[in-house]
Amino acid sequence: MSSSHATTAPVPSTPSSFLSDGHSLKSWLLTLDHKRIGILYLLGVSFFFLLGGLFAMLVRLELLTPAGDLMLPDTYNRVFTGHGVMMVFFFLIPAIPGSLGNFLIPLMIGTRDVAFPRLNLLSWYLFMAGGILTLFGVINGGVDTGWTFYPPYSSTYTTTNVMIVGIGVFINGFSSILTGVNFMVTIHRMRCPGMTWFRLPLFVWGHYATALIMVLGTPVVAITLVLLILERAFHFGIFDPARGGDPVLFQHLFWFYSHPAVYIMILPSMAVISEIIAAFARKRIFGYHFVAFASIAIAVLGFFVWGHHLYVSGQSVYAGTIFSLLTMLVAIPSAIKVFNWAFTLYQGSIALEMPLFYALGFIGLFAIGGLTGVALATLGFDVHVHDTYFVVGHFHYVMVGGTIMGYLGGLHFWWPKITGRLYNQFWSYVSALLVFVGFNLTFFPQLLLGYMGMPRRYHSYPEEFQVLNVLSTAGASVLAVGFILPLCYFLLSLRRGAPAGDNPWGARGLEWETASPPPTANFAEIPSVTREPYDYYEHAQEQAAAAVRPSSAH
């Protein structure tokens, strides 16, 4: 977007970049700078992602053979629960908002920090405290309920660490709520002069919708976990039928948050994709308003679809009917986004750089993830595939094909901005290829396995399912290499990478107008915005006009 630097805010005297503004451990652990907190999040979520990935590899290794011969059943149950809990609560939910969202939102709206910097730091500490407590529970004895904690198994029957893990996830919930509140207030109150709502980059719209879900949904799962803990510790009888409770009530409460939580995972990723596509097509996102409101529509509709997890749980047929219909409607804003992205490419000026690979990969994989979601919303079909590997395949297409593609795409896009360094091109292409191939090889066979009838959370399985399981495990191995490579070349770039310059991609947007890495105060002067975002066309017109009339320039 076009901006001028004519406003009056004084120039704070700062070091050249936020990275060199103090090197002590204290300068990081007590920082109030949203960019440093973003990096703390980046380290935290990457750590939990690697652990979650390790659990995933153990699951895939066990499933290489039909017999349960690598681990004992109880060990396997702890491992897949550990995978689910770590990945969902400590990677997928905080990954993009915590790292890229924190780093970029103030830059994109032209301000010096988020509205509540101390709250922001607190939210990282709560995230780490929850994560480490959960990790302690998952490793030291483990928990074997699956990440869904369904009672009465979780409340009465299992002897594993439900309490510790429940408390860990509960604490992490507050981190999510604080981040959500912070984003909402920041976006409402801190926009620079001229930055109207419809001049916001779509990244900001996506995070606003995400914040909405974080603030409205997370309290419900927190309450649910408290009820579960009370039930377990003091036998309250809320979910235990032997005491007059109802186990299905837990499922309603749990999914009231946990289905919207899926949109906490995907909306920030969609937000990243919008930025990448606009930058590498050098064109305004097609149907900007539709894409922006589609994010809000997904966030709002997401609160009314939880019952599609309960089609076979004994929920009434009519409730199932309504939830099926409402779930179908979520497909519409998703379709609107996908087609608008595709038409952004139309008549664009497309450079197939690394981040765009991830963005295009996202669209293709999200199409499969989304459409298998429509299939699962279809009542008669869901009865057969519910709780089978079809569901596992579907949500990995959305979570891995969607969220992780967006996360990696975003990292590759903004890495030069965050660190001021360029990463190795060759290895980034190799890694992207491995991720794409490995991903499909891992999860497509799971869709087929599910239709053939293989239930999820099985430690051993009938022999006819072996071939597809072997393919899936092979794919997971390729995927693992694809995920480890970026870790290597990103770290190497810090030492050896060529300086990136302020705007290596020639992108528009306030974050590209400041230095790479940005100074602690973000901007020398607070910018002021005069045009809609992604103004590649207008900017080029202006440049051309200036070239024709050089005398009149500035």
Binding site: Y157, G348, V374, D382
Partner: protein, 337 residues
């Protein structure tokens, strides 16, 4: 049908074909849209590749017509999908009145099954070909889920309530039975086999199987053992309502309102007797919560229902609500429209 489509489990119930046709539609729709999107992306990316360093995209960035197109067409498609899914689901939700009840009890980690004629088996279910079969299911501990891929049916088995599913086996053979709701250590060993036999073979199997008592007979013993008959006498005038002929009727409640006497109400009345008192009676009955296993409860219910055998068939059909429409597939198709 000898031809076996890859990755599609064998179709062994009358319902399986309905699900597979829906699946083929869903796969087709997914393929068409995925290919459409991928082709668009690839074509645009190649055709509009950047040719000079300072080139930018065009200013074509809005089109109401296009936005309406990709809002309305997907909307129509998902509504159609919804309707089709609903039609299949409704059929699955309405067992025919002629369905024969089998009793299933799930516990960590086995399936216990009792035939209407009393035979019991564990992790195996023998059923005759072509017989509409309804499973009445309870759990003794945690949530389980009864899944037969070859029949394309599944229902959770939830402690504290009775759930059911039904199917009509259409092909003899042995089919997988899986527990699909995670239930603890040996979840993946809570599997079994459904054996579909020709009716004659089934009768022969029944004759050879251990047949101690029919569930109703066992229920009659329990009824006497727990001294239910002290209050619920055969003739009216006891301290509790007489139970013969009561099943399937609508009774008036103390404090207003009515209730249909069905499985759920009988169950509630045994476990939480004071919840809904029939008009004209005192809340005297003690709870039997914790004294009766789910299996015993199912036997008691069977016995009580046998006291009103005329009405049982009409009331067992698990309709979402009382409806004059006879539950047969031909008419249930009308509902999806």
């Amino acid at each position: 049908m000898n031809f076996q489509i890859p990755f599609v489990p064998v179709q062994a119930s009358e319902f399986a074909g309905d699900v597979d046709r829906l699946t083929f539609f869903l796969v087709g729709m997914t393929t068409v849209f995925t290919v459409l999107i991928c082709v668009m992306i690839v074509v645009f990316t190649v055709k509009y590749r950047r040719r000079s360093a300072d080139e930018v995209g065009s200013s074509f960035e809005n089109s109401a017509l296009l936005e309406i197109t990709w809002t309305v067409i997907p909307l129509l498609i998902v509504l159609f999908t919804f309707g089709w899914g609903l039609k299949v689901f409704f059929r699955l939700s309405r067992p025919p009145a002629s369905a024969v009840n089998y009793y299933v009890s799930g516990k960590q980690w086995m399936w216990k099954i009792q035939h209407p004629t009393g035979q019991r088996e564990i992790n195996e279910l023998h059923v005759p070909l072509g017989q509409p079969t309804r499973l009445v299911m309870n759990s003794e501990d945690v949530i389980h889920s009864f899944f037969v891929p070859a029949f394309r049916v599944k229902a959770d088995v939830v402690p504290g309530r009775t759930t059911s599913l039904w199917f009509t086996p259409s092909k003899t053979g042995r089919y997988h039975l899986f527990c699909t709701e995670y239930c603890g250590t040996e979840h993946s060993k809570m599997i079994g086999t459904v054996v579909v036999q020709e009716p004659d073979d089934y009768q022969a199997w029944l004759a050879g199987a251990p047949a101690p008592k029919s569930p109703g007979g066992a229920g009659e013993l329990l009824f006497a053992q727990y001294a239910c008959d002290t209050c619920h006498r055969a003739e009216p005038g006891g301290r509790g309502p007489a139970l013969s002929g009561i099943f399937g009727t609508e009774v008036a409640l103390a404090g207003g309102g009515t209730v249909i006497v069905d499985d759920a109400y009988l169950r509630e009345s045994i476990l939480t007797p004071t919840a809904k008192i029939v008009q004209g009676y005192e809340p005297l009955m003690p709870t039997f919560q914790g004294q009766l296993s789910d299996e015993a409860l199912a036997q008691l219910l069977t016995y009580i229902k046998s006291l009103s055998s005329m009405r049982v068939a009409a009331a067992t059909a698990r309709l979402p609500a009382p409806s004059p429409v006879p539950p047969n597939p031909a008419t249930s198709q009308g509902i999806a429209r």
